[in-house]
C-alpha cells in the first residue's frame, strides 16, 4: 500500500473512532454549545436595547444588534467546540490505547489527523446548530451572494482547522483532561475580547490594538462582511494569515509533542 493511501486509510479509521466517541457521548459537545447559545440570547434579549445603542449610527435596534452579534457568536462557537477537542486529545493520551497505536504499523500522523478532522466536522455541526438558533430568533443574511456564502463557509472551516490544531497541541501538552480544559480556555475567552460584542473603537484606547489584531477580530469582521456586506478591508487577509499561521504552528507543535518519548 502506498504511503498516501495508508495515511488516508488509517486516518479515516481514527476519524471513525473519534466520531463514534462523539456520537456515543454527545453530552460534552452539547454542553459546549450551551455557552454560545446562552450568550446569544442574553445579549439579544436582556442587553439588546443597550447594546444596539452602542453599535453606532443612531437608529440601530435590537435586530441590528442581532445581525452584528451572530458572526462573533459563530466564531465563539468554534472556539468552544475546540476546547472539547483539547479535552478529548488529553483524555486519549492518558489512555493506554494511544501507546498501543504507536507500536502498530500504522501511519504516524493518523491519530492526530483523525482528531483534527473529527473536530473540524464537529465545529461545522456546532456552527450549523447555533446558526439555526440565530435564524430562529430572526437573523437573516439574505443579501449575501452564493460566492459570499461559499467564502463564509470556507472561512469557518479554516478557522476551525486552525483553532483545532492549536487545541490539539494544548491537549497533548496537558497531563489530564482537567488541565486541558483550563489550558484551552483562551479559545473561549479571546472571542469575548474581540469585536464580537462591541466594535473595537468603542473600547478603551489602550486596549484597541489588542482587540483589533488578535486572531478573532479579523475573522469576525471578515465573516460579518461576507454575510452582511460590511467593510472587510485588510481583515480578510489578516484572518487568512492568522489561520494559516496558527494551523502551521499548531501542527508543528502537536507533531513534536506526539513524537516525544512517553513518560
Amino acid at each position: 500500500m502506498s504511503s498516501l493511501s495508508l495515511a488516508v486509510r488509517d486516518s479515516s479509521t481514527m476519524l471513525r473512532r473519534n466520531l463514534l466517541h462523539a456520537r456515543r457521548y454527545p453530552s460534552m459537545t452539547l454542553n459546549l454549545l450551551l455557552t454560545p447559545v446562552m450568550l446569544l440570547l442574553l445579549f439579544v434579549y436582556i442587553f439588546g436595547d443597550v447594546m444596539s445603542a452602542g453599535i453606532g449610527h443612531g437608529g440601530a435596534d435590537r435586530s441590528d444588534y442581532l445581525a452584528y452579534l451572530v458572526p462573533g457568536i459563530l466564531m465563539l462557537t468554534i472556539g468552544g467546540t475546540t476546547i472539547g477537542s483539547a479535552v478529548s486529545v488529553a483524555t486519549d493520551m492518558t489512555e493506554g490505547i494511544v501507546a498501543r497505536f504507536r507500536t502498530m504499523a500504522i501511519h504516524r500522523g493518523a491519530v492526530l489527523i483523525g482528531h483534527v478532522v473529527g473536530s473540524v466536522l464537529q465545529c461545522v455541526m456546532s456552527v450549523v446548530l447555533v446558526g439555526a438558533v440565530a435564524v430562529a430568533i430572526g437573523f437573516r443574511a439574505t443579501d449575501a451572494t452564493a460566492l459570499e456564502w461559499l467564502l463564509a463557509v470556507g472561512l469557518l472551516v479554516l478557522v476551525s482547522l486552525a483553532l483545532t490544531w492549536i487545541a490539539v497541541g494544548m491537549g497533548l501538552s496537558s497531563p489530564n483532561a482537567e488541565a486541558a480544559s483550563n489550558n484551552a480556555l483562551p479559545l473561549m475567552v479571546l472571542p469575548l475580547l474581540s469585536s464580537a460584542f462591541v466594535p473595537v473603537d468603542a473600547m478603551p484606547g489602550w486596549f484597541q490594538p489588542i482587540a483589533e489584531y488578535q486572531p478573532f477580530t479579523p475573522a469576525i469582521e471578515t465573516l460579518r462582511g461576507l454575510l452582511l456586506g460590511t467593510e472587510i478591508g485588510h481583515n480578510g487577509w489578516l484572518a487568512v494569515a492568522w489561520c494559516v499561521g496558527l494551523a502551521a504552528l499548531g501542527y508543528v507543535w502537536s507533531r513534536s509533542l506526539f513524537d516525544r518519548d512517553p513518560r
Binding site: 500500500m1 486509510r9 488509517d10 479509521t13 471513525r16 473512532r17 463514534l20 466517541h21 456515543r24 457521548y25 489512555e95 493506554g96 490505547i97 501507546a99 498501543r100 497505536f101 504507536r102 507500536t103 502498530m104 504499523a105 500504522i106 518519548d261 512517553p262 513518560r263
Partner: protein, 341 residues
C-alpha cells in the same frame, strides 16, 4: 553475570535457534537518572523470556524501547530481524504489545475495539469480523462484546487487551506485567492464555515482579536490577544461585528437637521455636534422604515446610557485592529439570 557467558540455547536438532529479539548494550536515562545501564539480550524464536525485577528496575523502559515506543540513548537491538532504530516500521509490523496499563478504548465496546484493530491491520471487512468473533469467543468475551470496555472488570480488560494484540497475528508479543493487579483466578487464566500463545509458536517477552510467574511460564529469566541484568538463566539455574532454599522442621517435644538436631548435624537451630532449618533445594531426593535420617533416628517432626527461594532471596543474593558460586549443590546434575525429564 555478564551475558556473554550464557549458553546459546539449542533446538532439538542441535542448531542454535534464530534470535527473535537481540540487544547489545541498551542504555536509557531520563534526565540524570539512568534507567537502563547496558542491557544485553538474546531471545530465541518461539521461547518465553521473562524480565524479572522490582518496581522501578527498568522493565517497562526495556519493553518501551524494544517495542519502538521510545528510543534508546545507546546500544543496538534487533526485533524480528529489524533494527529498532533504523527500521521501526518493520519491528511494528511483527510485534504485538500489551502494556502495563490497559490499552483498550474504554468509550467503545469490546467488539468495536477489536474491529478497530482489524481496520488498523488493514484486514478486509469480512476477515476483520471473522477474527473478531474468533478472538472474542476464545477469550470468553462474547457476552460482554456489546458493552463499553470501561465497564469491564480488570481481568476482562486484560483479556480484551491481549485479544486486541492478537488481531494482527504477531510473531513476537510483549507483555508488560500482564497479571499485576489481577485476582488469583484471572491470574491463572492469564497464565493459561500465555501458554497457549507459546504452543502456537509465538515468541513472548514478559515482564513480571513475581518469581513464581516467571518460573511458571518462562524458558529463560533475566533478573533486572538497577538498570542492569544481575543474572540470566533458566528458573532452575537462578534458584541454584540463591542460598535461600531450605526445609524447616518444627517440634513440640524438646527432646525430639534435640535428637533431631544431633541426627541431622548441618542445621541452623532455633531453640526458642524448637525449629531446625536445613539448607535444601527442595528436591524429592533431598527430602527423602532427610526423612530417612529422621526415621532412622526415630524422631518425628510436628511440622515440615519446604521453602524455595523467592524474589526477596534472589535480590538479596544478586545485589550483594559478590554472588556466591554455591558449588556444593549446583554440581549435582540430577537436580535440574532437563535431566529429570
Amino acid at each position: 553475570m555478564p551475558s556473554s557467558v550464557m549458553p546459546t540455547p539449542m533446538r532439538g536438532d542441535g542448531h542454535p535457534s534464530p534470535a527473535a529479539i537481540s540487544a547489545v548494550g541498551l542504555r536509557k536515562s531520563y534526565g540524570d537518572k539512568t534507567v537502563l545501564d547496558g542491557i544485553d539480550l538474546r531471545i530465541p524464536a518461539g521461547s518465553v523470556f521473562a524480565l524479572l525485577g522490582p518496581n522501578g528496575a527498568g522493565k517497562t523502559t526495556a519493553v518501551q524501547i524494544l517495542s519502538t515506543l521510545s528510543t534508546a540513548d545507546g546500544g543496538q537491538a534487533q526485533v524480528a530481524g529489524h533494527d529498532i532504530a533504523t527500521s521501526p516500521g518493520g519491528v511494528r509490523a511483527a510485534i504485538g504489545v500489551t502494556g502495563q496499563f490497559s490499552a483498550v478504548d474504554g468509550l467503545i465496546t469490546g467488539e468495536e475495539n477489536m474491529l478497530l484493530m482489524a481496520d488498523l491491520h488493514h484486514l478486509s471487512k469480512r476477515s476483520g469480523r471473522r477474527v473478531t468473533a474468533e478472538l472474542l469467543e476464545r477469550f470468553d468475551l462474547v457476552d460482554a462484546a456489546r458493552k463499553p470496555a470501561q465497564s469491564y472488570s480488570g481481568g476482562m480488560k486484560r483479556r480484551l487487551d491481549i485479544a486486541m494484540t492478537l488481531v494482527g497475528n504477531p510473531r513476537i508479543i510483549f507483555l508488560d506485567e500482564p497479571t499485576t493487579g489481577l485476582d488469583p483466578r484471572s491470574r491463572h487464566t492469564m497464565w493459561q492464555i500465555i501458554r497457549e500463545l507459546v504452543s502456537d509458536g509465538v515468541t513472548v517477552f514478559l515482564t513480571t515482579q513475581y518469581l513464581d510467574e516467571a518460573d511458571e511460564l518462562a524458558d529463560r529469566i533475566a533478573v533486572l536490577n538497577d538498570g542492569r541484568i544481575a543474572a540470566e538463566g533458566t528458573a532452575e539455574e537462578l534458584k541454584r544461585l540463591i542460598p535461600g532454599g531450605h526445609i524447616r522442621l518444627r517440634f513440640t517435644d524438646p527432646s525430639a528437637y534435640r535428637s533431631a538436631a544431633v541426627a541431622l548435624r548441618e542445621t541452623t537451630r532455633d531453640d526458642e521455636a524448637l525449629a531446625l532449618r536445613i539448607p535444601s533445594d527442595g528436591s524429592q531426593r533431598e527430602l527423602r534422604s532427610l526423612l530417612d535420617r529422621l526415621d532412622s533416628a526415630g524422631v518425628e517432626a510436628d511440622e515440615l515446610t519446604v521453602h524455595t527461594s523467592d524474589l526477596d532471596d534472589v535480590f538479596f543474593a544478586l545485589t550483594a557485592s559478590t554472588v556466591p558460586s554455591r558449588p556444593a549443590q549446583s554440581t549435582q546434575p540430577t537436580q535440574s529439570k532437563e535431566d529429570v525429564r
